[in-house]
Each structure stands twice: as structure tokens, then as C-alpha cells.
């Protein structure tokens, strides 16, 4: 997983609430057996019409936002299915950070597994960033200090669980970390075999 420390980019503003995973990546792209190459499918039905032509007024189809690494959106971003194809598509398109008022649980989790930082901010701060984004201003995300700089002297602070932060900063592989606790897992499993033997 690629490390995440600091990120400076213009941001694409997609102010729709309840953006679901079917919108982020429709079903026909879930048939792949790879993680890569899904960027072209991102927001497919919003980006292309039924004949496959580019829909010009969609923000991610327009310069400079087609190069944005930050996405700003409304409430409950990523609701719906558990498909990790959603963060894979965002990442492949170039998005490394999503800022929203709230996220759906599974999507939020999936982001961290792929080096994407989802940031939750209150409504007024999301609005302010969305206005800055619409003016093509660059936004800088500093994960180390947990701050968002937007070109004035009033950076926003954001919260993140310390373990998730560590993993992003270092690009850790979760499984390798867990396997270090192998002895604990084994002794837990032994106790469980005595308590609930019918499960083994």
C-alpha cells in the first residue's frame, strides 16, 4: 500500500448526499479478477451517456478537475455494497483523499486498506472547502499534523484513529501486522475450542 503523508491538490466538488457504491462503480465492472484499471469505470453512468459519450458537465470530465486528487462530497458517502472496487476505482483515477460530512461504514474501512484517506468534517467546513474547490484553489492535507490547509491562516483540524493513521503514514500491510500476534490468536483459538467445541 502506498504511504500517505501529505497531499496537495485541487479538489473536485461533488455535492450529492448518499453517493452509493453503485454510482461509484456500476455492477458490470465487478466482473474483473484484478484490482487495477478501474479508474475508467469510476462514476461511469454519471461520466458517460448510454452510447458511451462523455457527459461534458460532469465535474470529473472537466479540466482541471480530471486531475484532482481530492474529492469533496455530501453526507453518507459510499453507502451500499461492500465492493472494494469503489475505492480501487477512485484510487486508479487518482483520488487519494475524500472529504465528506459522513461516510458509510464498510466504504470508510475499505479506503484505509488502499491508502486513501477519508476525512469527516462538520457541514460548515465541508461547505467552505467546497467553495474553495469551485474556485480551483489548491488544498493541502497534512496527515502528520492532522490539518487541512486551504490557503488562508485558518487550517481545519481533523480526527483519525491513531492505528489507522500509523498504517497510512507507513503504508503497513494489515495482515503482516496481525500475523505478528499469531501467538495470541493461537491461544485464543485453543480457549475457544474448549468453550465452543462444536465450531471446530
Amino acid at each position: 500500500m502506498e504511504k500517505f503523508t501529505k497531499l496537495k491538490s485541487i479538489a473536485a466538488d461533488l455535492q450529492i448526499s448518499n453517493i452509493d457504491t453503485d454510482m461509484i462503480i456500476p455492477k458490470q465492472f465487478l466482473k474483473t479478477i484484478k484490482r487495477t484499471g478501474l479508474g475508467s469505470a469510476l462514476f461511469y453512468e454519471m461520466r458517460y451517456d448510454e452510447k458511451g459519450n462523455v457527459i461534458k458537465n460532469f465535474i470529473l470530465n472537466n479540466t482541471p478537475f480530471n486531475k484532482a486528487k481530492i474529492l469533496i462530497s455530501g453526507k453518507n458517502f459510499g453507502c451500499g455494497s461492500s465492493r472494494e472496487h469503489a475505492p480501487w476505482a477512485l484510487l486508479d483515477f487518482g483520488i487519494r483523499c475524500i472529504i465528506a460530512e459522513s461516510f458509510a461504514d464498510i466504504f470508510y474501512n475499505n479506503c484505509f486498506k488502499n491508502g486513501i484517506l477519508p476525512i469527516i468534517l462538520p457541514e460548515n467546513q465541508v461547505k467552505e472547502l467546497s467553495e474553495a474547490a469551485r474556485k480551483n484553489k489548491e488544498i493541502e492535507i497534512d496527515l502528520i499534523d492532522q490539518k487541512i490547509h486551504k490557503g488562508d491562516n485558518r487550517p481545519f483540524d481533523f480526527e483519525i484513529e491513531s492505528f489507522r493513521k500509523e498504517c497510512l503514514l507507513n503504508g503497513y500491510d494489515d495482515i503482516a501486522l496481525t500475523l505478528k500476534k499469531d501467538a495470541k490468536i493461537e491461544s485464543f483459538e485453543q480457549r475457544k475450542k474448549n468453550l465452543t467445541p462444536w465450531l471446530y
Binding site: 450529492i16 448526499s17 448518499n18 452509493d20 453503485d22 454510482m23 456500476p26 455492477k27 458490470q28 465487478l30 466482473k31 474483473t32 479478477i33 484484478k34 484490482r35 453512468e45 448510454e50 455530501g74 453526507k75 453518507n76 453507502c79 451500499g80 455494497s81 461492500s82 465492493r83 472494494e84 475505492p87 459522513s102 461516510f103 458509510a104 461504514d105 464498510i106 474501512n109 475499505n110 486498506k113 488502499n114 484513529e161 491513531s162 492505528f163 489507522r164 500491510d173 494489515d174 495482515i175 496481525t178 500475523l179 500476534k181 495470541k184 490468536i185 485464543f188 483459538e189 475457544k192 468453550l195 465452543t196 467445541p197 462444536w198 465450531l199 471446530y200
Partner: protein, 466 residues
């Protein structure tokens, strides 16, 4: 200290907890399907890792499979590759696999309970958000992403943080014709699709106690549509009776041990919930969604909302977008909405009990000339049981297509899809834009409401029919 059922299951699976609350949770059972697993198995191979407990893992193909004649395999090349990939992965890693021609094949959340794989007090995960279904058995069950699928395969654990407790109680009795589907749609309409975010919901009260296991599964299934990590119902005699004798249920001496353990799985009397919601069964009506989010609900006697009456700007924008997509005018009566298709099936409503209820409504009647209707059983065993009871004949005589089991038109990864602007009364769980096919318009309803709509060609109040 008094504990909730969720607290008890959580604590009995806690392997390790860090200072910031990040926890390592032991996973008892893992269900696997073809769409969200190939990259996980690829990851295992690349890092030379094994599946820790193949015997705790069960795999099935469901999302991609055709529901028509299967004798020639899968026509779609990509779908076929995905299905074959799962078959090969299971063989290589020693995992039990129900393939396309296995009579036990079906939707992953139908076959888990059917096989007795799902049991109270367990932690169960699957790379599918509707894993919450299994909470009906008092198991902590939730959907995970593919990276987490790989993590569970390799370690039989998951990195998690503890959720909060949300009690939803529905008391009293439901009116005739009002079903589990109407209950969960009403709950989602009440708290919204993000209302359960960060919580595990425990469904309490007389209505859930009176529900069959199938009805409890319908409710828990859509917990994710309320944003919750999982849904739970306290296991009781009905739960134990359902499990007993199933192929993977505990046997002999183990059955007694399990029963003893399961009987202690309940929320203590004085346990504290972080949030509570109380509803009355008598207030719940047959429910139809009008929009593109499961929270967009209306009573069968209600109307499509008028965005001009909405004061919240964000909500107004959502309503306008949904109405445009759905091709509906504000203030249209729900009973004036005509439909083109009916889909009966899915992990929400594709079980034998659902099919029996549909059969009662359509027996001796004909599907409306303007409607194409299909019944897709949730599993091969549901299909066999339905055929044993003669339900297939009732469906076919009415003009329904009787199909092979799978996820089918719930998400349209196979050829069962809506065409642009086609309007469907669907017993599935999501009415998102494009969910059942690009431009397709989905109205979520109960099986009996879908059945009545198939006959009438539009939505009708089921209470006036039964």
C-alpha cells in the same frame, strides 16, 4: 455490569485490544462468493500465505450466475472466468464450494442458514454487505471488503473497532398484509440510510419475537440499508428449532453443549443502549419506495413527495434528482404508478416462506398483460422445496417465469436486468440509480405487494386483497 447481546458476542471474540480501541476480533465463520474474493486469493498467493481454517469457510457462486438454462454454462465470458476462478481457488486452498450445478448452490445469505453454517453467538463475515442477514440467528454478522476477506482467510481475525448499541423495538401486532419487509422499510424511512452508522441494531419487541426465522432474516438483511454494521435478534426456541438437524448443525453431545451456550445469548435486563427507537406494529402500513434510496418510502395510500414543500435544501435537491431519475411527478398517488416488471427473489425475500406467500396471492390469477414477472428462488434447495409443494406450477400458470437460483435482478450482474426507464416492483433491497440496470426504476416492496402489483399492473393495497 449489565451487557447487551452485542457486547457479549464482541467480548467473547476479542483477541486483542489496543489503547485507541482498535481491536482484533476472532471470526468463526467466513462465507465467500465469486465477486469479492478473486483479488483476496491472489493476495494470498503473492505473499505465500495459506487459508488458516478452510473448514470454517464456505464458498458459493451467486452474483454472476444465469437464472435460465444452465446446461451450456455461462455465456458471458467475464462472468464465466470469475466463477471458474472461485472454483479453482477453493480447490487450491481446500475450501468447500457449491458450484453452478450443485443443488445446494444459491445466494450466499440463503445457503448459510439453510446449511446450518449460521449459528447463534458466532462472528460471521462475508465480502457482501447483506451479511447482516445472519444476525437473525443472534450471530454478529457483517459485510467486509476484499482486503478484509484476505485478512480473514489468512488470520481468521479482523481488525475492528467496537460499535455502539442501538435498540429498535416494534411492539404490538402487525396488521394483516403488513410484512417484515414493511417493518424494515419503515425503520429505514424513520432513521434514514445513515441513521444506523456506527451502531449494531438489536431488534426487540413483540413483533420480532413473533416473526419466523425467515422474517427475522428479511429485517436483519436490510440493517445495512439503515447504515448499521449489523442487526441482531435474540436467539430463541424458534432459532434452535430452525437449526436442528441441518447438515452443518452441531450433533449429539455437541448439540446439547451448543444449546446451553446459545441459551445465554441475550441482552441483560438493565443493559444500556446508546440509542433507542420505539415503534408500534399497528402503525406500520404496506410500504413502497418512490425514490433512489431505501429511505424514500411511502405508504401504499400515500403520494410521491412534493419537493417544493421540503425546507431542507440538501433534501430538496435529493428529491428532485430522484424524481427525475424515477420519471415521477410530485404528488402522484402510489396506487397510480404502473409497473413493467416484477422481481421476486434476492437475499431479502427469496426464501421458501416468501414464495409461499406470493403463491397464495397469485394462485388462479394471471400476471397483467403489461407486466413481465419472474420468481428467482434463493437457493437450489428452496427451488426443490417449492417444486415439491407445487408452487412452481402456480407461478407458471399465472404467467411468472420460474428461474434457477441466484442474486439475479437484485443487482443485475447476470443477464436479468431492467432496460432504461423500465419500472419494477422488486422484493430486493436497493433502489439505487442503475442498480437493476442502467436507467431502470426500482420500487422496493414486500413479496405480497409485488405479487399483487404483478396481477394488477400497478401498486395496490394488499390489505384489500387478502
Amino acid at each position: 455490569m449489565a451487557k447487551t447481546l452485542y457486547d457479549k458476542i464482541w467480548e467473547s471474540h476479542l483477541v486483542d485490544e489496543q489503547n485507541d480501541g482498535t481491536s482484533l476480533l476472532y471470526i468463526d465463520r467466513h462465507l465467500v462468493h465469486e465477486v469479492t474474493s478473486p483479488q483476496a486469493f491472489e493476495g494470498l498467493r503473492l505473499s505465500n500465505r495459506k487459508v488458516k481454517l478452510p473448514g470454517s469457510t464456505l464458498a458459493v457462486v451467486d452474483h454472476n450466475v444465469p437464472t435460465t438454462d444452465r446446461s451450456k454454462g455461462i455465456a458471458d465470458k467475464e462472468s464465466a472466468i470469475q466463477v471458474e476462478t472461485l472454483s479453482k481457488n477453493c480447490k487450491d486452498f481446500g475450501i468447500e464450494f457449491f458450484g453452478l450445478t450443485d443443488k445446494r448452490q444459491g445466494i450466499v445469505h440463503v445457503i448459510g442458514p439453510e446449511q446450518g453454517f449460521t449459528q447463534p453467538g458466532m462472528t460471521i463475515v462475508c465480502g457482501d454487505s447483506h451479511t447482516s442477514t445472519h444476525g437473525a440467528f443472534g450471530a454478529l454478522a457483517f459485510g467486509i471488503g476484499t482486503s478484509e476477506v484476505e485478512h480473514v482467510l489468512a488470520t481468521q481475525t479482523l481488525i475492528q473497532s467496537r460499535a455502539k448499541n442501538f435498540k429498535i423495538s416494534v411492539d404490538g401486532k402487525l396488521p394483516l398484509g403488513v410484512t417484515a419487509k414493511d417493518v424494515i422499510l419503515s425503520i429505514i424511512g424513520n432513521i434514514g440510510t445513515a441513521g444506523g452508522t456506527g451502531y449494531v441494531i438489536e431488534y426487540c419487541g413483540e413483533v420480532f419475537r413473533n416473526f419466523s426465522m425467515e422474517e427475522r432474516m428479511t429485517v436483519c438483511n436490510m440493517s445495512i440499508e439503515a447504515g448499521a454494521r449489523a442487526g441482531l435478534v435474540t436467539p430463541d426456541q424458534k432459532t434452535f428449532d430452525y437449526i436442528k438437524g441441518r447438515p452443518l448443525a452441531p450433533k449429539g453431545e455437541n448439540w446439547e453443549k451448543a444449546l446451553n451456550y446459545w441459551s445465554n445469548l441475550y441482552t441483560d435486563k438493565d443493559a444500556k443502549f446508546d440509542r433507542e427507537l420505539y415503534l408500534q406494529g399497528k402503525d406500520i402500513e404496506p410500504t413502497v419506495t418512490w425514490g433512489t434510496s431505501p429511505q424514500d418510502i411511502a405508504s401504499i395510500n400515500g403520494k410521491v413527495p412534493d419537493p417544493n414543500l421540503e425546507k431542507n435544501e440538501d433534501r430538496k435537491k435529493s428529491i428532485l434528482r430522484s424524481l427525475d431519475y424515477m420519471g415521477l411527478e410530485p404528488n402522484t398517488a402510489i396506487q397510480d404508478i404502473k409497473i413493467d416488471k416484477v422481481f421476486i427473489g434476492s437475499c431479502t425475500n427469496g426464501r421458501i416462506e416468501d414464495l409461499r406467500e406470493v403463491a397464495k396471492i397469485v394462485k388462479g390469477k394471471k400476471v397483467n398483460k403489461s407486466v413481465d414477472a419472474i420468481v428467482v428462488p434463493g437457493s437450489g434447495l428452496v427451488k426443490l422445496q417449492a417444486e415439491k409443494e407445487g408452487l412452481d406450477k402456480i407461478f407458471k400458470d399465472s404467467g411468472f417465469d420460474w428461474r434457477e437460483p441466484g442474486c439475479s435482478m437484485c443487482l443485475g450482474m447476470n443477464p436479468d436486468q431492467l432496460k432504461p426507464k423500465e419500472r419494477c416492483a422488486s422484493t430486493s433491497n436497493r433502489n439505487f440509480e442503475g442498480r437493476q440496470g442502467r436507467g431502470g426504476r426500482t420500487h422496493l416492496v414486500s413479496p405480497v405487494m409485488a405479487a399483487a402489483a404483478a396481477i394488477e399492473g400497478k401498486f395496490v393495497d394488499i390489505r384489500k386483497i387478502i
